[in-house]
Symmetry: C2
Subunit: 333 residues, 2 copies
């Protein structure tokens, strides 16, 4: 492997000079600069990453913490992040976290040993001690799709409750009264979306029927399918379903068809997220859109800003959501 010393020797200068050239500092005669550059190119020299991070005490790496079984929504999110992080000059290191304490502990160890320059959380942690640790060492961080105001971290998110309310009210406005909910028991957003559903009901004088709520252990299609099947078994009057995520909705639609119920003829379904695949389901899924790409960009910007300009408090950005009308909701009016 060719090192800075090799280049220096070849160019007849010292390593410091090569370093100066490479880092575009002043005080280098332009003819020397050119000679060095030529040799660098000729030999295909590239600075060693480990050595740089050691002396600079920086890793040029930003960690992105995501669930091990990331869903399609998160997939779109972190593809966007990686893209913008690279534009900012950072490598992206993904941390796939399982929903367990030991997994979080392992993450903490890796965190310490890798000297990350910053972190983006796309995954809400169970254990607040990790947030606490990050705050203590003052590590630049941004939260994406949730927030924790008690730590004062920059965050980008949507108003979960209002978005869920938007979805539920769409159903109500289309004449639905017996509206079921499929959400998940984990994560704050699942509870917030449930809350939005209840508020929509209350605001329109509809009573909340606990028999119509399913709290799944996960947010994927399989959980949606199982949840819907369980809901059907309860034999409550039901004309529409609000699924807290699009993946849940996709599973619910599947279960409905398996049970001989057509969507939206017999039961209407609305989701929340607007993942890629939602426009390709049959029927197309009516849902509430989160601006995924923009949120990914913004969270990348937030960490990078913190790294270069220091932490400016009060930068929690709330993105707005909109209804995307497709074909999974029938109007009863």
């Amino acid at each position: 492997m060719v090192s800075i010393k090799d280049i220096a020797r070849l160019a007849g200068v010292s390593a410091s000079t090569v370093s100066r050239v490479l880092n575009e500092r002043e005080y280098v005669r332009s003819e020397v600069r050119q000679r060095v550059l030529d040799i660098v190119k000729e030999r295909g020299y590239v600075p060693n990453h480990a050595a740089r991070s050691m002396v600079l005490q920086r890793s040029f790496t930003i960690g992105v913490v995501i669930p091990y079984l990331f869903n399609m929504f998160q997939r779109q999110l972190f593809a966007a992040m990686e893209f913008f992080l690279e534009q900012h000059g950072y490598k992206t290191q993904f941390f796939f976290l399982r929903w367990s304490d030991s997994s979080e502990q392992a993450f903490l160890r890796r965190l310490k040993s890798e000297a990350l320059d910053g972190i983006i959380f796309v995954h809400e942690l169970d254990n607040p001690s990790i947030y606490q640790y990050i705050k203590e060492i003052n590590l630049p961080v941004a939260l994406c799709t949730f927030e924790r105001s008690e730590f004062g971290f920059p965050a980008v998110h949507i108003d979960e409750e209002s978005s869920a309310r938007l979805a539920t009210e769409y159903l109500i406005q289309h004449g639905h009264r017996d509206i079921g909910l499929i959400t998940g028991e984990h994560f704050t957003f699942g509870r917030q979306r449930e809350e939005g559903y209840k508020k929509a009901l209350a605001a329109h004088g509809l009573s909340y029927n606990p028999e119509l709520t399913i709290r799944a252990t996960s947010y994927n299609p399989e959980a949606g399918r199982a949840g819907m099947l369980a809901l059907i078994k309860r034999k409550q009057p039901l004309s529409a379903i609000f699924a807290a995520t699009d993946e849940l909705a996709i599973g619910a639609i599947k279960a409905l068809y398996e049970s001989g119920l057509r969507v939206p003829t017999d039961v209407s379904v609305i989701g929340l997220d607007d993942i890629d695949i939602s426009s390709f389901t049959t029927p197309g899924l009516t849902t509430v859109r989160q601006p995924i790409f923009e949120m990914g960009k913004k969270s990348a910007d937030l960490v990078c800003d913190w790294i270069s300009h220091g932490h400016t408090t009060e930068n929690v950005e709330q993105f707005s959501t909109t209804i995307v009308e497709r074909d999974s909701v029938r109007s009863l009016n």
Copy 2:
């Protein structure tokens, strides 16, 4: 940041001893060992990654090269890889490649500066010079979902042609004669799957109608939808479609419904890959299954084996594929 020297000082020993304890080498009195371990734990010391890689000349990192817009099949694949790579003690560094030469050049630069211990390609490269470079520096590598026998790299893949033939013959066995193909113009596997389709036709005395073939610019649902729409416009007799990937199939089904055609009543559809979502489409997608998880594991094993035991030639593993019967194909018999 607490370093090995701090621990040494605190324990009243030298840094070498701490290092020996941490790396579980012999020649350390057990009482000293215990004292060091206690302090390490108390201070939460974790070895610095950059320093280790510098002295060991290893990064403990394996690069995984995937398309920037990875599909759901690849997503499942590299989640599996990350899992097994971590078990082998390696970090995973993802390289999202765009389909362009400049993107490949940028990859080459990163490759040099990061001193990877190995690479897994889940993405076939356009430019053979990169494979050439890797071969020259003898960097451990494994190919996943394709192979390049001219370089003698270990690889795991399926028999693309036979798998496509399997899918097409399934259609033929169910009485279909007018069978369309939607594949992609990029990547070897797209052409191989086309070849399998043609061979199946020929083997059963069916003539190949070029009007029934669509070569999309991509392999995602949107491309499948556009391809199917174009195919319908040609107004050829058509009772079934072989889509070269499940994502293509999902888009094709969508287009069919949009055009007032029902699946499988009017047109049957079969895919290839068996991605997660395929069991949740309506109707459930009949397809050919690639053993995704096993392939991810095997390719991780292959690089790790090369790293630890050197390159054993002739380790190209071909996984077999099987038909997964769901509801998107109608029997005409």
